[in-house]
């Protein structure tokens, strides 16, 4: 069962680059690409549509 979904940002460009899924009672994680043909990406969109909240902590912009 999904525990959390977090947006991941590229450390060089600061661009949103993937989702990170953690699961309840599991040490396994899944990193999901931004690709509409990926089944995990599709599942995340359904999860969001069903009311799930994605954790989003974007890096601070450098002035």
């Amino acid at each position: 069962m999904i525990n959390t979904i977090t947006k991941v940002y590229d450390p060089i460009s600061n661009e949103f680059c993937s989702y990170r899924i953690t699961y309840t009672n599991s040490n396994n994680i899944r990193c999901v690409p931004l690709d509409e043909a990926n089944k995990d990406y599709q599942a995340i969109q359904e999860w969001i549509a069903d009311g799930g909240t994605v954790i989003d902590n974007p890096p601070e912009e450098t002035p």
């Binding site: 590229d10 040490n27 999901v32 690409p33 931004l34 690709d35």
Partner: protein
């Protein structure tokens, strides 16, 4: 050489890759060979390309495994086994499980579905169960929400039997010509009344849930029950040809398109399997990149074990310990052909240092998943 010198066998089964099903001999199992307590979920557990499907809330559980029990003298070495470990003799209406293979639409265009020349399909497979009776095999066109089901009977308990079912061509609804799932081959193992209370739909038509699995026995009604299958072949036409055996490496590479076990747990157990070359982009960021052995179906997910010091980065006579990796996919940095991973949370190194990554824990694994 005169044509008369070519043995007649040279002309038999001369349509290569005629089997639409991948890994029908159950020989590849990258994720592992056994998974206990599986139930009504949509997950790949053991044998490549064969997914457990299900619905409802039944407490029935199975051990799903790759097994060596096979029909004698047929050339098979492996089968897929479902062994009931927790029974449910009174299924709820919505309860079901199935063994499913999903097939890309671009691999099905030659079937000419949705035209007056639509090809029939013939399904053949070997099956064995102590639970005799009626079982259902279904083809489901997910592009057009159409389906067709056929019943087969396991006649003799605990005896391998070959079954052949022919499905007529469907003149309605073309398959999409893309890399998404268009067709599902579904073997039902139990089904509640939501799937059994109608009349079995033995001709192509719009999906009606209650007509999908009429007559299906309940494989979950006793922990004595098990079910084996191998030699699954789906091919154009109205007759079943001999199973198309492929070389192991060919079969494995076909599976890699959907799932690539880069480091599995057996590799990790050796505590030293190399994962790839890596470089310190800066003191706190390490990047790892490489190519997949075959082009994957789509940009894959990164599936991995995560924990304190599960991996290590060896560089310039020093070692950094990493918990896991992130996947960089913006701007195509990871795509169907290759990957770019990074870690920016566990590194304290020197910019420009090169090195390599190894597993460092028996529970570590790193796999790429582009399944349907």
């Amino acid at each position: 050489m005169a044509i008369s010198k070519i043995p007649s066998a040279g002309f038999q089964d001369n349509v290569k890759f005629r089997n639409i099903i991948i890994n029908g001999d159950m020989s590849i199992a990258q994720r592992g060979t056994s998974e206990a307590s599986v139930g009504n979920s949509f997950t790949y557990f053991t044998v490549d390309r064969f997914k457990l499907g299900g619905s409802g809330s039944s407490g029935a559980r199975f051990t799903m495994s790759q097994d060596t029990d096979v029909p004698t003298g047929q050339g098979f070495a492996k089968s897929l086994k479902m062994d009931c470990t927790t029974a449910d003799g009174s299924l709820g209406a919505s309860d079901s499980i199935q063994i499913v293979q999903r097939i890309e639409g671009q691999n099905l265009q030659y079937l000419k579905k949705g035209t007056s020349n639509a090809e029939s399909l013939t399904l053949s497979f070997w099956v064995k169960s102590n639970k005799t009776g009626t079982y259902i095999a279904e083809l489901r066109d997910t592009d057009n929400n159409r389906t067709i089901s056929k019943a087969y009977t396991i006649d003799s308990a605990s005896t391998w039997e070959k079954k052949t079912l022919t499905f007529e061509g469907d003149t309605t609804g073309a398959f999409d010509n893309d890399n998404n799932a268009s067709l599902r081959l579904i073997h039902w193992l139990y089904a509640g009344t939501d799937y059994t209370s109608g009349t079995l739909q033995t001709s192509w038509g719009t999906l009606t849930a209650t007509d999908r699995a009429v007559g299906q026995v309940n494989l979950a009604d006793s922990t004595d029950n098990d079910w084996y299958i191998t030699g699954v072949q789906l091919e154009a036409g109205t007759t079943a040809s001999d199973f198309e055996f492929l070389p192991y490496d060919v079969n494995l590479r076909r599976c890699y398109r959907y799932y690539w076990g880069w480091w599995d747990k057996a590799d990790a157990a050796s505590n030293g399997a190399i994962g790839g070359m890596a470089v310190n982009y800066s003191s706190s960021i390490v990047y790892i990149s490489g190519h997949f052995p075959v082009e994957m179906r789509t940009t894959p997910s990164l599936d991995q074990g995560s924990g304190t010091a599960f991996y290590r980065f060896l560089r310039a006579s020093a070692t950094d310990f990493l918990d896991d990796f992130e996947l960089s996919t913006n701007n195509g940095r990871t795509n169907e052909r290759g990957y770019e991973l990074f870690n920016n949370s566990d590194i304290s190194g020197t910019a420009g240092h090169g090195g390599w990554i190894r597993c460092n824990n028996a529970s570590a694994f790193v796999n790429f998943d582009a399944e349907l």
